[in-house]
Each structure stands twice: as C-alpha cells, then as structure tokens.
Symmetry: C2
Amino acid sequence: MTDRTRRAFLGSAAAATAGLAVAPLATPPAQAAAPATGKQAPGFYRFKLGNLEVAVVSDGARPRPIYDGLVRNASKDQVLAAAEAAFMPKGNFISHFNPIVVNTGTKLVLIDTGFGPRTGPTVGLLPSTLAAAGIDPKTIDIVLISHMHGDHILGLKTLDGALAFPNAEIKVPAKDWAFWMNDDNVAKASDDFTKSTFEFNRAVFHGIESNVTRYEWEEEIASGITAIDTNGHTPGHTSFVLASGSDRILVQGDVTNVPALFLRNPHWHIIFDHDPEQAARTRRRFLDMASVEKALVAGYHFPFPGLGYVEKDGPGYRLVPALWVPWL
Amino acid sequence: MTDRTRRAFLGSAAAATAGLAVAPLATPPAQAAAPATGKQAPGFYRFKLGNLEVAVVSDGARPRPIYDGLVRNASKDQVLAAAEAAFMPKGNFISHFNPIVVNTGTKLVLIDTGFGPRTGPTVGLLPSTLAAAGIDPKTIDIVLISHMHGDHILGLKTLDGALAFPNAEIKVPAKDWAFWMNDDNVAKASDDFTKSTFEFNRAVFHGIESNVTRYEWEEEIASGITAIDTNGHTPGHTSFVLASGSDRILVQGDVTNVPALFLRNPHWHIIFDHDPEQAARTRRRFLDMASVEKALVAGYHFPFPGLGYVEKDGPGYRLVPALWVPWL
C-alpha cells in the first residue's frame, strides 16, 4: 500500500466509522506535490544595542582549500585536523563575510563592503542582502572600512564602476591608506596576495579620492562608533567599539579569521597577515580583553551572523555563538 | 566640529583642491536620517539533504526563568551557573522552537507545529515564518508530530479553531496517542505541566480525530523519513532519521532541551520529562550514536537554526553548531 492509497483507505475508513458528521474534516484528496524552492533565506540579522539598531548583512560565505603555506607556522595536516574537528567540508575551511549596518539614529553606517560584483557566486551578495533587509544603498551615510583588503573594499563599486553607496562618505584607516596607496610600496610586494591587494585598492579608489576621508584610531567615527588600533593584519587594521547606554560590542574585523582555526590557535600566522608577529600580539590582546569583559564580539569571518562571546579554553580560545532571537 | 560640518568642510576642501573635474564625485549634501526598521529577519533556513529540500521554520524563542525544581536532580544554583556559562540572560535560559519542513519531492511534510496563536509574543511565529519562506500551509501534505506536548501540537489549529494545515494528514506517535488521549490517565496527573498537556491535547484533537493517523516506530512516514524510538520524554516520544542518497540527519525532537544545559549535563532531569530515568538513558544512547556517527542533528530546542554536531566533552557533550551557508 503506497502512502497515497493508505491515505485514501484511512480517509474512507474513518468516514465509514464516524458517519456524515465528520465529512467536512475527513482527509482531503491527494494534492499536487509542492515544488522545491531552491532558495536560501536572506542572510541578515538585527539586534538593538542601546539606542543603536545594528544589522549584520551577509556578503556570503565560501569554502577555501587548505594548502601548504596557508598558515605559515603550521603544517597543512595541522590545519586540516582543526578544520575537520570543526566539521568543515573535507580539505576546506568555510569563511564568512559579515558587513554590518549601524543606524545611530542620525547616520546609517556600513562597516565593510564585501567582495563586490566580480567574485561570486557565493560571495558578493551584499546588495541582495541589503535589499532583503530593506536598506537602500542610497541611504548609507558613511561607509567605514576596517582595512583595505579586497573582501572589505571591492563592494564599494558596482559592475559598471559606479559608486555602490553613492551618497556615502568613505572612511578608511589613515595608516592603511598611507601604506596601500603609496606607489613606492607596490614594487616591494613579494607575494600574489599583497600584489593583488595593491591592484584592488587602485581599481576601487581611482577617481573617487574626493569621497574618501581618513580616520585615526581613537576617533569617534559617528555617534557610538569608535575606532581602535588592532594593527598587524594590515598596517592600519582597525576594530570598532559600538556603545550605547550600558551596551557595548566589539567589532573585530579580521583580528582573527575563522574561529575554528584561529581562536583555537591564536598563534597561527595566516598568509593574509601583513605583519604576522604583530597580528598575533594584537589577537592575544584583543581576545583576552573580549574574554575578560565577556563582551559580545562581531567577527567579519565568523560563521553568520558572526556574533559570539570569547572564552579561554586551554592554550587558545573558543567562540560561544550568540543566540539567535526573533525580537530586537 | 560636528560630523555634519566636518563632512561639509571636507567636501568643499576637496572640491577646492581638485577643481571642477571632481565635482560629480564630491561628497553630496547631508541627507535625512534613515529610520530604524524595528524588524527582525525571518527565521527560516534551508538545506539540501540528497534529494530532499529541508527548511527549518522557526516558531520563535523565549526566555524561561530558572527556578527550584526546573531540573529535578540539580540545584537552582547549578542550573543558573550552566546558563551563565552559556551567556544566557541572567536568571533565565532561552529556549528555541524549530519545526522543520521536508520536501520529499512528492510530499511536503511539517515536523511539529509550535505553540499556535495563543501563547506569544515571541513564540507562535510559525505562520509568519512559513509565509516568509514561501510555504503555503495548504500545501502541507503531512504534519508529523514528534510527541504530544503543547509546544509541538498547539499550532495545529488557528485562533478560530480551524485546521492550520487544512489539507494535511496529521500523524502522531501511537504510544503518545494511547497515553494522552486515555481519559483514565487524566486523573493520575500529579503536576500542572502534565495536567495542562492533557487539556491541550483534548482542545487540539477534539473534532479532528478523523484527520489523525497513528504511526509506529521504525515506520517510514514518507520517502526518506523514518520514525525511531526515543521514548522517555513522553511515552511515545519519537525522533526521525531523514535520509537521501548518502546524506543523513537525525531530527531529535526533545531528546534534550537546550544544549547549553542538557548536552553539557545529560544526566539532568528536566521537569518536562515524563519518565526521567528512561529519558536520560535514551539521551545517552542517542547522543552517543550522534557523536560516533558525526551525524548532523536537528534539535527542536537548539538555538535557531537548530542544526549541529554532537561531540563528547568530559562527562557530557557539546554542540558544534553547523555553519550557515548562503547556498542550498
């Protein structure tokens, strides 16, 4: 007896037993199968922080192969083992990309912009995420860049080279601008990642220099958003403290890459760290602060929605993901 | 200098320096502040499991106070400490409610129905979640009940008493039906939770008995969905194996309540367990199986989206949340 025939059988058996009184409630005839949707939920998540309304607006996620040299001071096998322990897909780690929108009440601030339109297919999703979240790119007042790597800046422009956030002031860390926009440094770049980062910065910022302002550490960028020095990953790498009333959150940027690898092993030097020793010192200092404060931390490369608490665990740390809740 | 005046100043300074050529790109005038949205993202999340398309469709979440007796064999202080270690709000634990929709290709199956319209305000959200996910309640072919507690069955009816899933066959575990619908058992109920559960079942199932069929453990409910015996939490408490091709996931129902308390302390007896000793034996057996298999587990009370892997950790277990990804 198939499901369909069993249902028909049970329906008529029940009707026969109970009589006409139950007819309106009897099991209805089989219906056409609903098609699969093939469509993921939009990747945004909101929360209130005092008077601020904050939205994590995903640019997507992607698997990245684990190869010799990805971590300069750990073997491929060590990295593979850490990824496997975190149930990552075999041979890969999955990295997320979590820009953030902060509504301060007077300003709409976007922190970092994702990969833009040329990388795809599972990243560069920020425009569709913003649309799903009901945020018009034209209403962004400030685009705040944590550091000038491709996955943070390429979303500043659309496919045709126009400004993706046409009414926004673009604020970049002064020390990163000084480093990445200095032509003397280009020739010194010794690896492909650094070379491409110089190229990306030139491609993105060419012609829009007048829209860019440079900020310093300790500066209050907008009401409740303060830049803090977390250099090492890049010369001007910056994190942010968001604060309102007694609420506070640390927006770490790339102090660590994915937590399953780099919170567990904070001494590891990922190939993307510009000054790996300094990055590791900064990481230790930042994670110690976060764990002592029991602060909520937003991580650009944490699993979406990229929010959690840092606890010390053995020689490293562990991320305790914040709980999703349906309210603001 | 305010942000607004600084922007105006920098804009005109740049224009003065660079001349008319940059005028179209100069920082535009200040715009009106964007209003806060006040609106959370919809709580659904999809993934493919072989040929099955699965969607976790949240009914919401809510804080619950921690009180003496919530865990029969642990002190209030012990439970408070476990909740605090998981960064729960002081004095409370947060429980999630995660129904699941499975599209088998021929059937649309909803597993559990949430609180329905009378509980609110942060639960009973299943109808709005389904709408956001593009799932019409009329297209549900089977509502599959894991066990007959209020937070799993009350969503079967709308506020006016109509069937919330009017074209669905309702499948309940035979052993739960035998227990909860037996009038002889009502008088034996010794606590408020059990008494209210008898009442809820009568309120929900009265008049729709002919829509209900009873299933047995080991039965294949629909293609790829098999019921397995995990009794203890209720006499007929059931989990499900979803399987397609080489993919497999365990839908645990209430084998544990929230992982931060009950995976960490699998020997704890929550007050909602009908037979706490049997529930604890079942929990151990299930979690051992999940950790050895490295199986993806869906938990009705896990933090949304309620998906993760179980690893042994000391005397208990730990949930490693599955990674959100933007693809299916």
